[in-house]
C-alpha cells in the first residue's frame, strides 16, 4: 500500500535520513525500531508532511505522491499519534474526537449528534474503555487518553495509523489492552506503523520489523525470523549481552525506614531499605507509585507515619528537607519537573550545588567547572561542550544529567521514578551499569518503573504496589513476571 523509496533528508550539514526504504501493507503492523536519534521521528515527519524529503519517492498504492504538507498527508489517510498526547483536557471525549470538525447546524453545535457519532465510532473501534464519551478527558487515565487519540485519528477514513512510543506511559495491562485494540484495527485493514524501544512488545505485536540506525535502514524482517538478541545488535550495532547490571546483594545497615506513611493517595506504606540495596516498586500506572515518591520527598503533605534515614527519624515537609536528609528523587517527568530546558547542560548540572561554588557573591568558576566535569565524566554524558543548550541532548543523555548531578555528594537514598522513559537501549544499559557501581559502594536505590522486566532485573527486592499500598515484598531473584502481574492486576494472566 505504501512504499518509501530511498528517502534522504538533510538538516544543514547533517544527514538525518540516508536512502531509507520502508513499505507497509494493509492489515499489517510494521514496527519501526531504532535508538533515539536513529531517524524514526524524521521518517514519520516526512510521511506526515511535516518535513519534505530531499531525495526519494513516496508511493501510495503504486502511484507516486507528493506529500508536501500536513493536509496532503491527511488526504492520503495518514494519521499520526505522537508521543506527547495532544488532547484538550478540559473537554469531553466526544469533543476531543471531533475537535475541529464538530457537527453543527448553521454554526450551532449539535451536542447530541456529536455524542452519538462519537459513541458509534468508539463502539465500532471496540474502544469500550472510553464508551462514556461525555466524560471529561482530564478524568481519564493516560492509557484511556491514548484511546481517545486513536479514536480521533480513526474518526475519518484512516488508511495508515502511526503510533510513536505509545506505551511509554502505559502499564503492562494497559499495554496489553492497547495491543488488542491494534490487532482489531489490523483486522479491519488499517496499516499500522508502530514505533517503540521495547523489544518484547514488538516481538509480541508486530508482523514485520524494520530497524533504523544512524539514519539508515539496517534491515526489514518478518518477526518470526528474528530474535531479540539480533534486534539489539542491529539497533546498537554491537552485541549487548544484558543491559541490566544488578549488583550483588550485599545489604548493609538500614538506610531508609518508612513506617505507616499515609496521605490521600498513599495508605499505610511501610518499607525498609538497606544500604547497597535496590528496592523495586512494581505498580501499574495510576497505582499511586509516583504519589509515594512525592510523599517521601516532601512534595505532597504526609498525614501520618514516620520516615527514618540511617536510623534517625526525620521530619520532611519540602524537597529541601528531604535533600538535606540525604534523599534524592529523580522525577518521572524529566522535562517538566527535572530540567531547566531553556538553560545549558552546565547550568543544570551546577544548579543543586550553587551553595558550594558560590557561597557569597563571588562565584568560584573553577569550582563550578570541576563539579560539572565530574558529573559529565561520572556518567559519560555525551556533550560537545558543557555550555551547550540541554535541548540538544538525547533523552538518554538528559536523563543522565538528571541523575549524575546528584552524585557530586552521593545521596544515601536515590529514588528513581520511571528512569528509562524515552531512553534508548544503549543509554539505558550504561546508566544501569553506573548505578550498579554506586549501589555496590553502598547507595540505596528505590526504583519505580512500569517496566516489569526492568524492576525484576535491577532490584534485589520488589514491592508490589497497588492502590497506594504495598501488597507484598518479594525477593526479585526468585520471582517471575507472572507472579507479579497476578498480584498487580488481581487476576491470573494467561
Amino acid at each position: 500500500m505504501l512504499v518509501l523509496e530511498g528517502i534522504t533528508k538533510r538538516f544543514g550539514g547533517v544527514t538525518a535520513l540516508d536512502r531509507v526504504c520502508f513499505d507497509l501493507c494493509p492489515g499489517e503492523i510494521h514496527a519501526l525500531l531504532g535508538e533515539n536519534g536513529a531517524g524514526k521521528s524524521t521518517l514519520i515527519k516526512v510521511l506526515g508532511g511535516i518535513h519534505q524529503a530531499d531525495e526519494g519517492a513516496v508511493l501510495f498504492e503504486g502511484a507516486s505522491v507528493d506529500v508536501n504538507g500536513v493536509t496532503a498527508a491527511d488526504r492520503l489517510g495518514v494519521r499520526i499519534i505522537h508521543q506527547e498526547l495532544s488532547l484538550a483536557p478540559n473537554m469531553t471525549v466526544a469533543e476531543n474526537i471531533f475537535l475541529g470538525r464538530e457537527p453543527h447546524a448553521f454554526g450551532f453545535m449539535r451536542h447530541r449528534a456529536m455524542a452519538d457519532a462519537a459513541r458509534q465510532l468508539v463502539e465500532r473501534l471496540g474502544l469500550h474503555e472510553i464508551r462514556d464519551v461525555r466524560k471529561s478527558v482530564s478524568n481519564l487515565s493516560v492509557a484511556h487518553r491514548q484511546l481517545v487519540e486513536i479514536a480521533r485519528a480513526l474518526a475519518t477514513r484512516a488508511r495508515i495509523l502511526v503510533l510513536d512510543e505509545p506505551t511509554s506511559a502505559l502499564s503492562d495491562a494497559e499495554t496489553a489492552a492497547l495491543f488488542t485494540t491494534l490487532r482489531r484495527l489490523r483486522a479491519q485493514g488499517v496499516g499500522i506503523i508502530y514505533i517503540s524501544h521495547r523489544l518484547e512488545e514488538i516481538m509480541q505485536l508486530a508482523d514485520r520489523i524494520t530497524v533504523l540506525r544512524d539514519g539508515r535502514t539496517v534491515g526489514t524482517r518478518p518477526v518470526s525470523e528474528v530474535d531479540q538478541r539480533e534486534l539489539v545488535r542491529w539497533m546498537v550495532g554491537r552485541d549487548v549481552v544484558d543491559y541490566f547490571h544488578r549488583p550483588p546483594h550485599v545489604a548493609g545497615p538500614i538506610a531508609l525506614q518508612v513506617t505507616g506513611l499515609s496521605n490521600d493517595r498513599v495508605h499505610e506504606v511501610s518499607l525498609t531499605l538497606h544500604e547497597g540495596e535496590v528496592l523495586g516498586i512494581a505498580g501499574l500506572v495510576g497505582s499511586g507509585r509516583t504519589e509515594l515518591a512525592r510523599a517521601l520527598f516532601g512534595i505532597d503533605p504526609v498525614r501520618k507515619g514516620e520516615i527514618a534515614l540511617a536510623g534517625e527519624t526525620v521530619d520532611i515537609h519540602s524537597p529541601r528537607e528531604a535533600l538535606r536528609a540525604g534523599m534524592v528523587l529523580i522525577p518521572e517527568d524529566r522535562q517538566g519537573q527535572g530540567l531547566v530546558m531553556i538553560q545549558t547542560v552546565a547550568f543544570n548540572l551546577a544548579l543543586p550545588w550553587v551553595r558550594e561554588w558560590n557561597p557569597g557573591c563571588r562565584p568560584d568558576l573553577s569550582r563550578r567547572h570541576s563539579i560539572i566535569q565530574r558529573a559529565i565524566e561520572g556518567f559519560a554524558i555525551k556533550v560537545a561542550n558543557a555550555e551547550q543548550p540541554i535541548t540538544g541532548l538525547s533523552g538518554g543523555n538528559q536523563q543522565k544529567v538528571l541523575v549524575s548531578r546528584w552524585m557530586e555528594h552521593r545521596p544515601r537514598v536515590l529514588i528513581l521514578d520511571e528512569p528509562t522513559r524515552g531512553v534508548d537501549v544503549g543509554a539505558r544499559e550504561e546508566m544501569f551499569r553506573l548505578l550498579g557501581g554506586l549501589v555496590r559502594e553502598g547507595m540505596a536505590v528505590v526504583l519505580i518503573s512500569s517496566d516489569l522486566n526492568e524492576v525484576l532485573n535491577m532490584s534485589h527486592r520488589v514491592a508490589v504496589y497497588r492502590d497506594g499500598r504495598i501488597l507484598k515484598t518479594l525477593d526479585a531473584a526468585d520471582t517471575g513476571m507472572e507472579e507479579i502481574m497476578t498480584l498487580l492486576t488481581g487476576v491470573k494472566t494467561a
Binding site: 529541601r320 528523587l329 531547566v340 530546558m341 551553595r355 558560590n358 557573591c361
Partner: protein, 316 residues
C-alpha cells in the same frame, strides 16, 4: 559569559539610536544632554530592575506605579507632620523609612500571595495596584502634598547634584544597578532565580526554597519602587497621589527591550539598564527632533515590538 554576548546587539542598537539622533538633533550628545538623559531614566530604570527580578521568575508586578504614589505620599505626609519650621535629620530618615516600609509591606503581601496561594501574580498585583492607588488617594483628598521648602535634604534626593555634575538620582540608580547586578549575576540567590524562572518544579526538586525566593523578589521589587518613589516625589517638589500611573508598563517595556523573557528564566540587569536607556533615548530624541507626540507613541510601540521580535528570534 552568555549574557555578555546577548548584550552586544542591544548596546549596538542604543549606540545607533544615539548616532541617529545626533544627526537629527545637533547637540544631542552634549555631555549636559546625556547627563540629563540618564537622570530622566533613573526612576524608570530603578523600577525596571525590580521588575526584571519579577519577570525573571515568571511573575509580574503591576502594582509598582501605585506603590510609587503611596510611598511618596506617605513620606511627604511624615515629613510635613507637625509642620516643623526647620529640617531635622531624624525626620528625614523617618520619612524615607516610612515610605520604604510601606513599599516593603506591599511587596511582602504580593510575594506571600504569589508564593503561598495559587493566585496568578498578574491578578494579585492588579488588585494591590488598586488598593495602593486608593491608599494614596486617601492623603490630602487626592491632591498633591507639597514638600516644605526647608527640607533641602529630601529635595536634594531628586534635584541635587554631586559636585555640581552628577545628579543624585543617577547616583542612586547606579548604586541599585550594581546591587541588582551582583545579586542576580553573582549570588546563589540569583542563580536560584534563573532556576525558578526556567522551571519552577525542577527548581523545587533541586531543593531551592522557591516560595522564599519568590517573596524576596516581590519585596525587592517593591523596595526599589519605593526608592524610585522617593526620588520621583522629590523631583516633583510634592507628593502626587495620582502619580505613577502607567509606570509599570514603562518598567516592563525597559525589561523586555533589554531581553527579559516574559516566560521567565531569561534576562539580565545590564540588559534592562540598556533597555531603559533605549527607551529614554527614544523619548528624548523624538522630543528634541520635534516629532509630533502622536508619532512618538507609534514609534515607541514599533521599537518595542521590533526589539522583542528579534530577541525571540535570536533565542531559537
Amino acid at each position: 559569559m552568555n549574557t555578555a554576548k546577548r548584550l552586544i546587539p542591544l548596546i549596538g542598537a542604543s549606540i545607533a539610536l544615539m548616532v541617529l539622533f545626533r544627526i537629527l538633533v545637533p547637540g544631542f550628545l552634549n555631555p549636559e544632554n546625556l547627563v540629563d538623559l540618564v537622570q530622566q531614566i533613573s526612576v524608570n530604570a530603578i523600577i525596571a530592575f525590580g521588575m526584571t527580578f519579577c519577570i525573571l521568575i515568571g511573575g509580574i508586578d503591576l502594582s509598582v506605579g501605585a506603590v510609587l504614589a503611596v510611598v511618596g505620599t506617605t513620606a511627604v505626609y511624615v515629613l510635613g507632620y507637625g509642620e516643623a519650621e526647620t529640617q531635622s535629620l531624624f525626620r528625614f530618615f523617618l520619612a524615607v523609612g516610612a515610605g520604604l516600609t510601606v513599599a516593603v509591606l506591599f511587596g511582602a503581601f504580593n510575594g506571600v500571595c504569589a508564593a503561598r496561594t495559587k493566585m496568578p501574580p498578574f491578578i494579585i498585583t492588579l488588585a494591590t495596584m488598586m488598593v495602593a492607588r486608593g491608599a494614596a488617594l486617601r492623603f490630602n483628598q487626592g491632591r498633591p502634598i507639597s514638600i516644605p521648602a526647608h527640607e533641602t535634604l529630601f529635595l536634594g534626593l531628586g534635584n541635587g547634584r554631586i559636585a555640581g555634575v552628577l545628579p543624585v538620582p543617577v547616583l542612586i540608580m547606579l548604586v541599585i544597578l550594581i546591587i541588582s547586578a551582583v545579586l542576580l549575576h553573582r549570588t546563589r540567590f540569583g542563580q536560584h532565580l534563573y532556576g525558578i524562572g526556567g522551571n519552577r518544579e525542577a527548581a523545587r526538586f533541586t531543593g531551592i526554597a522557591v516560595g522564599r525566593a519568590e517573596i524576596t523578589v516581590y519585596i525587592l521589587c517593591a523596595l526599589f519602587t519605593g526608592i524610585a518613589g522617593i526620588i520621583a516625589t522629590s523631583q516633583l517638589y510634592s507628593a502626587e497621589p495620582a502619580s505613577g500611573a502607567g509606570f509599570e508598563l514603562n518598567a516592563i517595556a525597559a525589561a523586555v527591550v533589554g531581553g527579559t523573557s516574559f516566560t521567565g528564566g531569561i534576562g539580565s540587569i545590564p540588559g534592562t539598564f540598556i533597555g531603559a536607556i533605549i527607551i529614554g533615548t527614544l523619548d528624548k530624541g523624538l522630543n528634541q527632533a520635534g516629532v509630533h507626540f502622536s508619532y512618538q507613541y507609534i514609534l515607541k510601540g514599533l521599537v518595542i515590538l521590533a526589539a522583542v521580535y528579534f530577541d525571540v528570534r535570536r533565542k531559537r
